[in-house]
């Protein structure tokens, strides 16, 4: 731990100051070396991460990995509204080779494969040649909240901030495919971006969707987030938006669309991002022999954003609780709060519906009846009638956790 802290500090200083004079800096007294960190409050650690402001176009972000960047949205951002500001929209890349310079005049999106005509579309073709659509949707990494899995599992140690909601502006994937003319017998559509593996024979990051899903009129190619062009680290200039599905499908810097008449056999489609084929994708730790299936849709989740574990709450007095919820692959039907560890549940008031795939705010008042420790719990039920589970979701890769969240507070 000590070594790690010194190293992180050194690294962050280098990011800020350049590589010069490291020997001197390392000897500075502790107060001069102090930097902002965040405690992710995970048993077993490591729990502390630096807050970074070193990334282009980004504000304060939790530094999970420098390169390729894993930047987590600080949780307090979710208390401010349902749309995550672009400068705090989380960032996750698989491969370190992606451009930081993009000339929009030279950029082309290719549509090829099992189509009548191959297309090479400029950003102008996309912005001005096709009907424009807007849609609010949560981008959530399949590994969001992995750090809270017990027993712990390897992978990006995300707390609850590898999720962000934006109003996406773009064009329908269906309209682009129709322009190319999908031939009969098409099975899947595969998507790739400008990112490339560092090791040449490593699998390029690509994902595929079934042809009917790709043509459902909701999957879109976005060029805007919250009214601005996409941020570089979120996939400038074009990003695939798959509403209601895990962000692994939301290919960034999208430049290649290939219609396939054979099943996609690439690593990321057939081997990566696998979960047990069990209810809630959960298994008992140590169990083996279960079938694996790809992660696909999101599941319902909800969070209290104005109260943290350890907070003091006045006893016998109404107190406000609020937060966000999302239904997963459909809207939010209801969000219920429990103040007695899940024994009884009380409905909350839902905020404005900005779209079924986005965050929805909820709020209520609650009164803790007695002094001492209490456990608040929050539960989303989506419009398909699916509620968050009250048991711990666990699988070896740490995907798709959507267990009911608890906050332990003290009434005084």
């Amino acid at each position: 731990m000590q070594n790690r802290d010194v190293l992180v500090r050194r690294m962050t200083r280098r990011l800020l100051l350049g590589a010069a004079g490291m020997g001197g800096l390392a000897l500075l007294p502790a107060p001069a070396r102090a930097e902002e960190t965040v405690d992710l409050r995970v048993p077993g650690g490591p729990s502390t991460r630096p807050i970074t402001t070193a990334y282009a176009q980004k504000g304060r972000m939790i530094l999970q990995r420098t390169s390729p960047p894993w930047l987590e949205t600080p949780f307090e951002v979710f208390d401010k509204g349902v749309f995550t500001p672009n400068h705090q929209h989380y960032v996750s890349w698989h491969w370190a080779n992606f451009p930081s310079e993009i000339d929009v005049d030279k950029f082309r999106l290719t549509v090829r494969g099992h189509v009548n005509q191959t297309l090479s579309l400029s950003t102008k073709d996309i912005l001005h040649g096709l009907p424009r659509v807007e849609l609010a949707a949560v981008s959530q990494c399949a590994g969001n909240s992995r750090i809270y899995m017990q027993p712990r599992v390897p992978g990006a140690q995300w707390a609850n901030g590898s999720m962000s909601n934006a109003l996406w502006t773009g064009v329908r994937l269906k309209d682009v495919l129709d322009r190319a003319g999908v031939k009969p017998g098409a099975l899947q559509v595969r998507f790739g971006g400008l990112d490339e593996p560092v090791v040449s024979d490593a699998p390029k990051f690509m994902k595929s969707l079934a042809i009917d899903h790709a043509r459902d009129g909701e999957v879109m190619i976005a060029f805007g987030m919250n009214g601005e062009q996409l941020q570089l680290l979120n996939g400038f200039p074009l990003k695939l938006i798959v509403p209601g599905w895990c962000a692994v499908y939301w290919i960034k810097m999208l430049n290649d669309i290939e219609v396939l008449d054979q099943p996609d056999t690439n690593y990321w489609t057939v081997t990566g991002y696998r979960v047990p084929d069990t209810p809630h994708n959960t298994v008992n730790p140590g169990r083996t022999g279960f079938k694996l299936v790809p992660v696909t849709r999101n599941f319902p989740r909800s969070f209290i954003t104005n109260i943290r574990s350890g907070d003091m709450v006045p006893v016998g007095t109404p107190a406000p609780a609020r937060g966000i919820a999302f239904g997963g692959d459909c809207g939010v039907a209801r969000v219920d709060l429990s103040i007695d560890s899940g024994k009884s549940w009380h409905p909350t008031q839902l905020g404005k519906d900005e779209g079924e795939y986005g965050f929805r705010q909820w709020q209520t008042q609650f009164t803790l009846p007695s002094r001492g420790e209490h456990t608040l719990m929050i539960r989303c039920t989506n419009t398909n009638g699916e509620a968050q589970p009250d048991f711990p979701v666990w699988n070896p890769a740490g995907y798709m956790r959507n267990t009911i969240e608890s906050s332990h507070v003290v009434a005084a």
Binding site: R4, L7, V8, R10, M11, R14, L15, A19, V42, G44, G45, P46, R49, T52, A54, Y55, A56, Q57, L63, Q64, R65, T66, S67, P68, P69, W70, W95, A96, S100, E101, I102, D103, V104, D105, T123, H128, R132, I147, R152, V153, P154, Q157, T169, P197, V198, V199, D201, A202, P203, F223, G224, G227, E228, Q229, L233, F236, P237, Y267, T271, G272
Partner: protein
């Protein structure tokens, strides 16, 4: 005159404002040329640190590993196996054993 002008200007604003808002800003994309941080952080000294630095840092910075929890040796073996077989990290069998030893020693359970 003022009476008729005010509503008219209000209507004009109502029509023009949306056009000067989001939609107008997204009429074209502007090229980007940005600088992103890189890391020259290395792994903490100790037996196997050279193998870690030589085999892991080409694809990801050291904080990837330093932020991992402690895990059983068997899980570290699986992680290194995935790096080699799935992600094609060119790690020799000898270095792979050294890397697993380093991970199990610095991030191991039991």
């Amino acid at each position: 005159m003022l009476r008729t002008l005010l509503p008219a200007s209000t209507i004009l604003c109502a029509i023009l404002l949306p056009l000067t808002g989001h939609a107008a800003r997204l009429d074209e994309l502007k090229s980007l040329n940005l600088e992103l941080p890189s890391s020259d952080m290395t792994f903490p000294d100790g037996a196997g640190a050279d193998a870690m630095n030589g085999n892991c840092l080409a694809c990801h910075s050291a904080d990837h590993m330093l932020n991992q929890p402690t895990l059983p040796r068997k899980v570290w073996e699986e992680v290194v196996d995935k790096m080699i077989n799935a992600y094609k990290a060119p790690i020799t069998p000898q270095d792979a054993a050294t890397v697993v030893d380093y991970l199990a020693r610095t991030k191991g359970t039991m």
